[in-house]
């Protein structure tokens, strides 16, 4: 068997542990090791994408235990796609963190960073519902640390809210898992699919309750209304590279919804009719509306981008909630696109923050920043992508979603809201960009008593590495636009694979695991209970208690 599947999980974990153990006092070494680890991760992820390109499903039985009894990792097109995306994003984010020196503004940045990668990738790869919970927790707790990295009153206050809200989400996850285990007696996702499909028709309440509870758990991650409240402040307050990395975190929720509601609770499942097919689309559209209203109404650039994330999740989930291969394929394209676009925006916001006087992110008047044309140009490109205007990937994503929505009876609503909200986003981004980047040029005239003394930060030349990182993300956006055709073919194949889950299920459940050869004690006549002091011993079988209990 090949160990490639588990490497993306074990490698960051070991790297983080190594960083904590050996190089926790050397920032340069931490950078080197962490970056090297991430590059290796990307290579492995690429290998996994290639290995699953033809539709093969790779199974990894941890501890060599057969599913559903042990935990399995499953690599298929969907999971490897997200693993690759995560690794790619991680490289850019890390370059930015190095270039902007964010990594030195607090302790244990790289350990947390690598653990975060481990959690995210583990969530994508696992084939076990409870193990998914564990990886959710890994990624969450790492995100708590990263979110409040470097501290500060505002970050702590927002951090408390972020943590508490997600604790509620985690609690709900456990309630859901308890319910699902109580109903089905299993935790393996493929096994769940089989058992739920075979569940008696008169006894569906528990399964239905579990299915919506899980949906809400994932909806918290995916920031779907009305469970999204944790997001705006947390993302706005998080250090830029962290916020950029968080761009993939919402996708974990989306991934889980796609996985669970194609594999375990597929749209044609009798037991769960009338649930997510009814509720998810309205929720997604409301999310879209709220996100874009947030873009329009934001008073600060960082919050604007945070709301753009919510809006993008609304778009994505609108596509998912059509629950057709076409819809899922569109959602996947949009997921890739929006991850990169929001990451780029968060990093650009940080560049602006760093270079504006008093780190202003409000739309107040401030002098222009050095290298403003480059930053403005990049912001323009990223905003275009985010708002779904041509020529970047956002537009293609939008077309794909609109196209997919034709299959839904509520198409008119979907179209009207998506298009209407695109307009709102365009207006919002135009308002923000023209204020931040253009109005600055009016500042000399606008100040009554002459311009304020020039800020050193604003005049220093742009540091190269951060711009390379952002440029890299934008270049990737351009690349997925140019190669949208082949990419879309792959995503369509991915979606088709999701809607034909039999190979997945049979691979997971049909692969034999460990052969159990009985290894008793050295002297065979000892039986297993002789070590166990479970009873007071077999010598006096009639104890007074048993006697009386008869």
């Amino acid at each position: 068997m090949s160990h490639w599947i588990i490497l993306p999980i074990v490698l960051p974990a070991m790297m983080a542990a190594f960083i904590v153990l050996v190089v926790r006092h050397h920032v340069v070494l931490q950078r080197v090791f962490s970056l090297a680890g991430t590059v290796a991760l990307l290579a492995i992820a690429a290998g996994l994408v290639i290995a699953t390109w033809d539709g093969s499903i790779i199974l990894y039985q941890l501890g060599n235990w057969a599913a559903p009894f042990g935990i399995v990792l499953v690599a298929d097109r969907l999971s490897t796609l997200f693993v690759f995306l995560t690794s790619l994003l991680a490289i850019f984010v890390q370059l930015y963190a190095i270039g902007s020196k964010w990594d030195t503004r607090g302790r244990h940045f790289y350990a947390l960073f690598q653990f975060q990668l481990m959690g995210i990738i583990g969530a994508f790869l696992t084939g076990d519902a409870f193990n998914l919970f564990v990886f959710f927790e890994v990624l969450l707790i790492a995100s708590y640390g990263l979110m409040i990295h470097s501290g500060g009153p505002e970050r702590f206050r927002v951090g408390v809210q972020y943590v508490v809200f997600n604790l509620l989400g985690s609690t709900l996850f456990l309630f859901a898992l308890g319910t699902i285990y109580a109903e089905t007696g299993t935790l393996n996702m493929a096994d769940l699919a089989q058992r739920i499909a075979a569940a008696p028709a008169e006894h569906t309440s528990g399964i239905r309750a579990a299915s919506v509870m899980l949906l809400m758990v994932f909806a918290v991650k995916a920031a779907i209304l009305p469970l999204h409240f944790w997001l705006p402040s947390a993302y706005a307050c998080a250090p830029a590279p962290v916020a950029a990395l968080f761009a993939i975190m919402t996708k974990v929720g989306a991934y889980a919804i796609i996985r669970f509601y194609t594999l375990i609770f597929p749209p044609d499942l009798e037991a769960t009719q009338g649930l997510f097919d009814t509720w998810l689309l309205p929720a997604a559209l409301l999310t879209l509306i709220l996100g874009m209203l947030g873009v329009l109404g934001a008073r600060r650039l960082d919050r604007l981008v945070a709301f753009a994330v919510i809006g993008s999740m609304g778009m994505l989930m609108a596509a998912v909630s059509v629950f057709t291969p076409q819809g899922i394929a569109a959602a996947l394209f949009y997921a890739i696109h929006s991850t990169l676009a929001t990451a780029a925006l968060f990093l650009l916001v940080d560049v602006v923050r760093d270079r504006r006087e008093r780190n202003l992110l409000t739309f107040d008047l401030a002098p222009p920043i050095a290298g403003g044309a480059l930053v403005a140009g990049m912001f323009f490109a990223a905003a275009i992508a985010m708002a779904g205007l041509p020529p970047l990937s956002g537009f293609i994503g939008k077309l794909l979603i609109l196209d997919a929505a034709m299959a839904d009876a509520r198409m008119a609503w979907v179209w009207a809201i998506i298009l209407g909200m695109s307009l709102i986003a365009v207006i919002g981004f135009a308002r923000a960009g023209s204020t931040i980047f253009w109005r600055a040029h009016a500042s000399e005239a606008a100040y009554d008593e002459g311009p304020p003394p020039e800020d050193e930060a604003a005049l220093a030349p742009l540091p190269a590495l951060p711009m390379v990182a952002i440029g890299g993300i934008l270049a990737t956006l351009v690349a997925i636009t140019v190669f949208a055709g082949p990419l879309q073919r792959h995503l369509a194949a991915t979606a088709d694979q999701l809607f034909a889950p039999e190979p997945y299920i049979s691979t997971v459940l049909g692969t034999p695991g460990k052969e159990i050869t009985y290894k008793g004690h050295a002297d065979e006549d000892h039986d297993k209970d002789s070590t166990a002091r479970d009873s007071h011993g077999p010598e006096n079988p009639e104890t007074p208690l048993e006697e009386e209990a008869h």
Partner: protein, 122 residues
């Protein structure tokens, strides 16, 4: 023999339970914090000790034998005075005593009442 053992175990259990009950009853009944401290620290400890002894006897008669109950007993007996002392210190510190303790025959004051600054110089 078995009957004797049965009687012994039962007696130990009942005695233990009674002591425990008395300890908790005293905890509720006694009217000052320092007095309340006496009941559970002693009766409780002996009550649990008696129960543990019952368990040991039971194991020796009807099982393969067991001595690890002694360990729990030792644990309780060693820690109970420390817990009691801490709670007494709380009572003294929070002035929840009916009568203030008299001055020590030697030294200037009781440790709990010693101001932290003075204690640093000690």
């Amino acid at each position: 023999m078995m009957e004797a053992a049965e009687i012994l175990v039962s007696a130990l259990i009942v005695i233990g339970a009674l002591f425990i009950l008395v300890g908790s009853y005293g905890l509720l009944k006694l009217d000052s914090p320092m007095s309340r401290l006496h009941a559970p620290t002693k009766s409780g400890t002996l009550g649990v000790g008696s129960t543990l002894a019952a368990s040991m006897v039971y194991a020796f008669v009807w099982g393969v034998g067991s001595v690890h109950e002694l360990l729990i007993m030792a644990f309780l007996f060693v820690t109970a005075p420390v817990s009691a002392m801490f709670i007494a210190k709380v009572a003294i510190h929070r002035r929840r005593v009916a009568v203030e303790p008299p001055s020590p025959p030697e030294d200037s004051t009781w440790a709990t009442k010693a101001a932290p600054v003075a204690e640093e110089n000690a």
